[in-house]
């Protein structure tokens, strides 16, 4: 694809992949092939109705269960509050327990959450089957890439690519060259013994999606042998990724995987000696949002979902985190201006995002067998 793609790099739009996406999105494969162009062509953004805005303002507040980092999210939702005067109560939790908690609350009629954000679409669809999710199609969601939504159910707020990050003070120039050019195989290099860290796929949707590429979707290319070699380096395994990034910046580890663009960007802006690279193929993960059927503030929830999926909402997220947008028409202005990490010679956008796994039987299997396999490999 070409440079009109803004924040997102080219996809592997093979016919097979498109078919899979179509299966996920519940749309016909034929209509899909030209949808991205349609999205770009949209000029005047659809606005939420006046009635919705008025009803939402009457409710005045909403509760947002989210999985993104606390402070950037607070800044992001405050942009919504500023625009509509509707406050948000943000509750941060790890994907799985947060989702389980919301399920339990809904099942017993303790309605707390209005909008639920999660990094695992499989769980949302099972909740949809249980009729716990409100059907709503935000007008703005027309601009969301087709493979990044399930109409009426969930919509992608952000796309997070994951690569390899290193501490530039703990890595020699030759090693840096190796990391930048060596692809994923660099993770199995014995030189990292005692210097590498990783995260468990059991911690949340993004880590799970990352590991799924190696043990599931691209098993032929990587598979258990690849991870066994990595496990032999005895990496420090984190149950949660934020502390891992902090320890990378501090110099406890020289190199880590599952390095997400949004988190690395944050550390870069603070001046941490962190650099990162996206080997090919680059696993990416969708952070999606849905509206609870029992939302105590249904109108505010819908208005927030509208805003979150709009060009404006997505651009607001860019100002706090460097992830890619789920929209074609929203580009991180820093990229165009060659600002921040975009100016660094070591930085390169991911070239081939691996995202077409959402319909894989192995991925949607609720038993998530690859977690057990990973645990076995890493001696957990």
């Amino acid at each position: 694809m070409n440079d009109t793609h803004g924040g997102l790099p080219t996809y592997n739009f093979t016919r097979r992949n498109l078919m899979r996406m179509a299966a996920v999105a519940g749309l016909g494969a034929a209509s899909l092939s030209f949808l991205p162009k349609v999205a770009v062509a949209q000029s005047s953004a659809p606005q939420p109705s006046e009635d919705l805005i008025a009803a939402a303002k009457t409710e005045g507040t909403l509760t947002f269960y989210h999985t993104t980092a606390i402070d950037p999210t607070a800044v992001w939702t405050s942009a919504f509050t500023k625009k509509y005067g509707i406050t948000t109560q943000n509750v941060r939790g790890p994907s799985y327990p947060l989702f389980e908690r919301w399920l339990t609350e809904e099942r017993v009629g303790q309605h707390v959450a209005d909008v639920v954000q999660i990094t695992d679409t499989v769980l949302i669809e099972s909740a949809h089957d249980e009729k716990l999710i409100a059907d709503y199609t935000p007008a703005s969601a027309a601009g969301i890439r087709p493979e990044m939504k399930k109409e009426g159910v969930w919509y992608t707020a952000f796309v997070n690519a994951m690569g390899i990050a290193w501490n530039s003070k703990l890595v020699s120039p030759e090693e840096e060259k190796l990391i930048r050019e060596g692809g994923w195989n660099v993770l199995t290099d014995p030189r990292w013994k005692g210097r590498i860290a990783t995260g468990t796929p059991a911690s949340g949707g993004s880590s799970y999606s990352y590991v799924y590429m190696f043990l599931g979707g691209k098993r032929d290319q990587f598979g258990p042998d690849f991870l066994a070699k990595m496990a032999a380096l005895k990496p420090q395994v984190y149950d949660s990724k934020s502390p891992m990034y902090d320890r990378l910046a501090a110099g406890e580890h020289a190199i880590v995987d599952q390095a997400s663009q949004s988190d690395m960007g944050g550390f870069y802006l603070k001046g941490a000696p962190i650099r990162w690279v996206f080997p090919t193929p680059t696993p990416a993960n969708l952070t999606v949002q849905t509206i609870s059927a029992g939302a105590p503030h249904p109108n505010a929830a819908r208005l927030f979902q509208d805003w979150a999926m709009s060009q404006e909402g997505q651009a607001a997220w860019f100002s706090v985190a460097g992830v890619s947008s789920a929209r074609e028409d929203t580009v991180d202005p820093r990229k165009a201006a060659k600002a921040d990490w975009y100016k660094e010679d070591w930085y390169k956008d991911p070239e081939n995002l691996y995202i077409d796994y959402l319909g894989d039987p192995g991925y949607v299997d609720p038993a998530k067998p690859i977690i057990a396999e990973w645990n076995q490999l890493f001696g957990r």
């Binding site: 109560q89 327990p97 303790q110 149950d239 910046a249 501090a250 941490a272």
Partner: protein, 568 residues
Amino acid sequence: MHKIPVGLVRRKRQRLALPVILGLVLAVLVLLPIVLMFLGAVRTGTFVDPRAHFSLRSVIAVYATMPYLKTLIVTIGASLAVSFLACFIGIALAWLISRTDIPAKAWMENAVIAPLYLSPFVGALAWLILGSPNAGLINVLAREVFGVTGYAINVMTATGVILVMALYNIPYAYMTVSAALKGMDPSMEEASYLNGAGVFSTALKVTLPVVRPSIISAFFFVFVLTCGTFSIPAALGGTQAMPFLAIDIYRATATYPVDYARAAAIGTLLFWISLIGVAFYRFASQVATRFVTVTARGFRTRFLKLRSWRLPAIGFILTYVTLAIILPYLALFYVAFTRFTSSNILTASYTLDNFRSVIASVAVRQSIGNTLLVGVISPTFCVLLGIVLAYSIRRLRIRGAGILDYIAMFPIAVPGIVFGTGIFWTYLMTPVYGTVWILVIAFVATYIPYAYRMIDTSIIQIDRSLEEASALCGASHYRTASQITFRLIRPSVLSAWILVFIFSIREISAAIILSSPSNRVLSVMSWDYLEFGNVQNAAIIGILQTVILMAGILVSRFLLRVKLSQSG
């Protein structure tokens, strides 16, 4: 025909009313969450999961498969090691401060108790910053200044985790043993000296046997507390440093697949282990209090002269204070002022932005309010219930006193994270769910054993002849209780209040499970920041908690003239 006098019937009814009410309160507060834990262990999903059914799968896996049994053995071994270390150092500190002429006693005592003001979880975070093998500040310093190769210390090992856990448990051992030492009539030791025994043989043959029950009770108290701790081993590298049952529980509730049955099954396993510990603790603390020490007679303690041992003794205390307070707070303040955690204090980039953003955060402000609310209400209710229980069981000798006494001690045996889950299910469908009141209920239930035991102990220590004298002088039951008993137990009531206040402000495991937007407290904020935000803000929240704890304790000390170490 026999006619039962009306008065007797009424008295009988009254005698039944109190035990029934107390029994009901404890049943709902304590037993129900524990019963739900056991039920949860044999379900395949949550209680409201339509697909869940009964199954022994989790129980069998936890009780009869190797990984869990191995973890169980390591957990018990490590907890025993922590107890041993904490008690050894705690006893030495208590003896030095209460029996010798060490200078600045009041200051020393405050310093020894000070680690209580730091949440153990934040303390572990501080030690991670100080003592991780590669980037730990101490190790970087050792390498750059002293040319050490490799590392000087490594807290991310089994030894490291045990040492850090011991460090934060020393105050409990100190408080228990120091209270016994202070209550002991020193004339026994004087007699030993007069008969020509030396310092060590007196300490070994006279002092130690008298305070032995309190040492045993401190030992098992620390043991039970350590078994259920997840925050310290979790912060220091999780199971890679050392397998630990409490981490397995946390993992079962926080990582995929979320398996509450497994968490509950591990919880029941820990429950049995802790119950054994509680039985020892209960037995020992009852033996300990068999010695009536609050009598009408007064005594004066003679302090032993340390002479040439003075400096080493001061050095010992200062080393402890450095490791438990000074270094961790330096690490927290350092991190709080940095843009990102750096292992080099010279090249780190400093900023005030973290403080600004934390203070400006609405969520933080709300959680300060919630913390204060929960921190004042929970210990108050807890202590009131403790007084009623202790007085009814010990002085009124109500029916079923023994059973009530046992039930009141149960919560110690349940790890906070499992008890929190039990409370979650107990109150999920009630209006208190999601409010600060569910936290108040959780904390009263969790800490009733401490409040009850401290107050009970001080009631036993009161010579009955004082109350009998009051009764003989014609005072009513109520008047004797209010004028004699409650006056005499006042110091321990207030220390119980302070202890539960400290616990309530620092508690993290149950608070995480019960948290919702309207009841978030600071401990939950610090956990959230570490897990999903940044270490800088977690450190600031930890410091904020300390400020609240110190302010609360200062205020209560000045208002009520009570010392934490006066506890019985």
